[in-house]
Structure formats: structure tokens, C-alpha cells
């Protein structure tokens, strides 16, 4: 028998867990993006060894399960003097895991920036920093918002792994509820609902962002194709 009253009874604990999930996810995404962007920029430097190291980092992170990375960080960390509290380790772990993927997303976005737009800025005497801020990043946003949102949606679901190192997030609270009430089905259903809510919110936000960063392109042809541009003129 489906007993939804359990969800009400465990409501406060679940909401708290949901809050921790959102916190870990949000902070993890932020760290992942900042780190990923930095990695992408460092990869542009003409220093071969640095490129190899970054590539190896990305391959290792993408090639191993998040669960194992998290264990290594949380349980293996103390061996090298890195003693982290569970939630901190969880956030950092998510950030590191996400950084490899974000670095690849940003790299693709960086390469997709039309070279001419950068050359125009260079020929006007703009510095690399100014070009990055004013030309490259805005152009990157257009192509990278969809994959960024996609990665963020994936990361919402990776947060369940944090329960294994006892981060009191949603999965952890749900397991507690299941253990105490034996209501496995309700628990799983409730969980699915919560994560779906989060993913839905993320993708809605993503669509808004996408509309915002591409607003200057609406109802217009891509730049440079004079054929269609002139048809309207």
C-alpha cells in the first residue's frame, strides 16, 4: 500500500536533506566551472608539459567513477594530510569531477569563437584580458549554455553518491527514512520527485539563460552570411 503520509512525517528531514543536496550541487557546480574555465585557459598556453598534465587530469577524472574519486578524496585524503569534513569533501569532490567536463565544454566553446572576432579586437589594440572578457566569453556563452545546463543536470544526480561518505543530503535522509519505516517504494518515489524537481528547475533556468544570451540573434541570419542579411535590408 502506498503511504504518502510518510513523506509528510519525514518532511522536515527530507527538506533539510534537499537543502544540503542543493548546497552541495550549487557549490560543486561553481567550483567545477571556475576550475574548468581555468584549466581551459591554461591549456591555451603554449607550454607542452602543462597541456599534457591537464589532459591527463581530464582523462583520469572522466575515466573513473565519481564514487571512487570521492572515496579517494575522503578516505585517502588523510594519508596525505588532507582531512576533510564529509560535506566539504563532497562539495570539493563534485567540483573536481565537474571540472573535467566543464573544461571540455569550455574548450569546445573557446574553439568555436569565430577567429575574425578575436582578430578584429587584436587589430584594434585590445589586450588579451579585455578580449577574453568582452569578446570571447560572451561569444562562448552562446554555444556553451546548453551543454553547461546539461552537465549541471547530470551533476544534480551525482550528488546521491555523497550519501556514501555520510553527507546528510537527500539520498542520505531518504535511506534513513527507508531503514526506519521499511517503506522502500514511497522513499524511492519521493526521491525521484525531488531530483526531478531540481532538474526541471535547472533546465527552465537554462532555457531562460539561453534566450538571454542569444537575444541579439533572434529573427536574424548568422553574421557574415550577407545573402540572407541583405534579403531583409
Amino acid at each position: 500500500m502506498l503511504d504518502l503520509s510518510l513523506l509528510v512525517q519525514y518532511g522536515p528531514a527530507l527538506l533539510r536533506g534537499f537543502g544540503v543536496t542543493i548546497l552541495c550541487w550549487g557549490a560543486g557546480c561553481l567550483i567545477g566551472m571556475v576550475l574548468g574555465f581555468a584549466l581551459m585557459l591554461l591549456r591555451q598556453l603554449p607550454v607542452k608539459p602543462l597541456r599534457w598534465v591537464i589532459r591527463a587530469y581530464i582523462e583520469v577524472i572522466r575515466g573513473t567513477p565519481f564514487l571512487i574519486q570521492l572515496f579517494l578524496l575522503y578516505s585517502g585524503g588523510p594519508a596525505i594530510g588532507l582531512r576533510l569534513e564529509a560535506t566539504t569533501a563532497g562539495i570539493l569532490g563534485l567540483g573536481i569531477y565537474g571540472s573535467a567536463y566543464f573544461a571540455e565544454i569550455f574548450r569546445a566553446g573557446y574553439q568555436a569563437v569565430p577567429k575574425g572576432q578575436v582578430e578584429a579586437a587584436l587589430s584594434l589594440g585590445m589586450s588579451y584580458g579585455a578580449i577574453l572578457r568582452r569578446v570571447i566569453v560572451p561569444a562562448m556563452l552562446v554555444s556553451t549554455i546548453p551543454p553547461i545546463v546539461n552537465m549541471m543536470a547530470i551533476l544534480t544526480k551525482e550528488t546521491v553518491v555523497l550519501s556514501i561518505i555520510t553527507v546528510p543530503e537527500l539520498m542520505y535522509e531518504m535511506q534513513t527514512m527507508a531503514a526506519e519505516t521499511f517503506a522502500t517504494f514511497e522513499t524511492i518515489l519521493g526521491m525521484a520527485l525531488f531530483y526531478w524537481l531540481l532538474v526541471e528547475a535547472v533546465s527552465r533556468l537554462g532555457r531562460r539563460l539561453e534566450a538571454r544570451v542569444t537575444r541579439f540573434l533572434t529573427h536574424a541570419s548568422p553574421q557574415g552570411s550577407s545573402k540572407t542579411a541583405t534579403a531583409r535590408a
Binding site: S123, L124, Q223
Partner: protein, 280 residues
């Protein structure tokens, strides 16, 4: 000697089209410049002088190295041999031997006096026409936003696009985009302007408006190096024409000398192909 160009641009001071006047440092001086992409030698031993207020057109078949040469002048393309000087200053390299590549900062100092107009316009699509023009004024010249905006507005007015100030590039025709790109360059008050096939991406009926803006600039005394397939523009506006073929300057002189008096077979052949394609 430069009868053709003088009649076309009567406001230009007499004598500007003539050879170097001894004391004057040429705007651009190219000596023995060569460049290779791997084993492919795209520029060989190029010599070219552009004096202040001169308009020099680079013409020739595609793949002849015109655009590469132009891009070497502001070091968007790195040349391997020889030297290019702008107002006496060596482009891209230090003066010591062996020469080293200049730092990005030194390159920026050079480039802020050299404007470039591209075939594909290269406006920044996320900025309005006005923002495109104002951007470098703020970032490079350090103007405050208000001053930069009003200066940018005047520049758009100069190319006849004051009404389009708040339009994004995607809403402008090719010709309008190219005029915004020109406004973006002249706002920086460059000493020299480089044009890389500025009308090649335009529909034929839009070529005229861009060429008119360029004619006005020439009449105002702007020094210009123009890679173009518009032979009419080269004949009427240029002080000098350089014909490039396979990385070399095969003919150089006034438009009359190159178009009508040159006996160089490659020039003849090129012009004949051009005439055949443009007659109907």
C-alpha cells in the same frame, strides 16, 4: 605621374602620390619580406613603400599572397624574413640582432595606430553598432563610457549609419555592417588603415556604399593599403597599384602604369580574365 589618382581625389595634396620626399619617413616600408607556411613560400622578397596619405591597392589572383602581405603589416600574420616598418618602427620584432618577437604589450602599441577592415566585417554580434564602435575607445584608449559613446555616435554618423546605432549586427545588411566596421576603426584615429577585400563578401548592389566611404576616407588624406578585386576602385582611387603573383610583386606603379602600360604577361592575363568576367 599620378594623373589618374589626382583627378579622382582632387582634395589630396599634390605630390603625395610621388616618390619619397627625402626627409619624410614612409608610413609603411616593406623590405625583402618573405613568409612560408611549411615548405610553401607564400611571400618572396617583397619590397613596397607606402607614403603618408597614399592609397595603395594590392591586386592579383587569389592565392597570390595579397591578404597574407596585408596581415603581415599589423603582424596578425608573422613574417619570417625581411622587415616591415610603420612610421620607422619595426613591426613585430625587436631592433637587436638576433631579433626577438615583440611582447604582446609592444604589439598593442603598434596596432592601435593601424586599423584593419576585414572581408567578413568581424563585428562583435553581441554588441550593438554603437557598442561595437565604442568598445575599443574604452578598452584601449581609456575613454570614459559617456565620451566614448558620443564619439562613437559621431563616427557612425560619418559613415551614414547614425540611425542604426542601436541595431545588433545581425539586423544590418552586409554593407551596413562593413560601414560599422569602418567606423569602429576610424574612431581610433589610426595613422594607417588596412582593408582586406572589404567588399568581397557583399552582394553587388551593396558594394558601392562601402567604396564610397573608402573614397571619402582617401579624400580626407587617410593612408590606406587595400586588397581588392574592385579594379574600378583601384584605377580611380589608388595612387599606386601593386600586382602580386605567386608571392611576388610582379608589377608596381600608378594605376595607369599597371593597368594600361604594363607589358607583364601575368598582369595582362589577369586583367583580361577580369574584363571577360565583368562584361556581359
Amino acid at each position: 605621374m599620378t594623373a589618374v589618382s589626382r583627378t579622382a581625389t582632387p582634395s589630396r595634396a599634390a605630390g603625395q602620390g610621388d616618390t619619397v620626399q627625402g626627409d619624410a619617413v614612409p608610413m609603411v616600408s616593406i623590405r625583402g619580406v618573405g613568409k612560408s607556411f611549411g615548405t610553401n613560400e607564400v611571400l618572396r622578397d617583397i619590397d613596397l613603400t607606402v607614403n603618408k596619405s597614399e592609397v595603395v591597392c594590392l591586386i592579383g589572383p587569389s592565392g597570390s599572397g595579397k591578404s597574407t602581405l596585408l596581415r603581415c603589416i599589423n603582424f596578425l600574420e608573422v613574417y619570417d624574413r625581411g622587415e616591415i616598418r610603420i612610421e620607422g618602427k619595426l613591426v613585430g620584432y625587436s631592433e637587436d640582432t638576433p631579433r626577438r618577437r615583440l611582447s604582446n604589450r609592444d604589439l598593442r602599441d603598434l596596432r592601435r595606430n593601424v586599423g584593419m577592415v576585414f572581408q567578413q566585417f568581424n563585428l562583435w554580434p553581441h554588441m550593438t553598432a554603437l557598442e561595437n564602435v565604442a568598445e575599443a575607445l574604452v578598452q584601449v584608449r581609456g575613454m570614459d563610457k559617456v565620451a566614448a559613446t558620443s564619439h562613437a555616435r559621431r563616427m557612425l554618423d560619418r559613415v551614414g549609419l547614425a540611425a542604426k546605432a542601436d541595431s545588433y549586427p545581425a539586423r544590418l545588411s552586409g554593407g551596413q555592417q562593413q560601414r560599422v566596421a569602418i567606423a569602429r576603426v576610424i574612431a581610433m584615429e589610426p595613422h594607417l588603415m588596412l582593408f582586406d577585400e572589404p567588399t568581397s563578401a557583399l552582394d553587388p548592389e551593396l558594394v558601392g556604399e562601402v567604396l564610397q566611404v573608402m573614397r571619402d576616407l582617401a579624400a580626407d588624406g587617410m593612408t590606406m593599403v587595400v586588397v581588392t578585386h574592385e579594379m574600378g576602385f583601384a584605377a580611380n582611387v589608388a595612387d599606386k597599384v601593386a600586382f602580386l603573383d605567386r608571392g611576388r610583386i610582379a608589377a608596381f606603379g600608378t594605376p595607369r602604369e599597371v593597368f594600361h602600360e604594363s607589358t607583364e604577361p601575368r598582369v595582362q592575363q589577369f586583367l583580361q580574365t577580369y574584363h571577360e568576367r565583368n562584361s556581359f
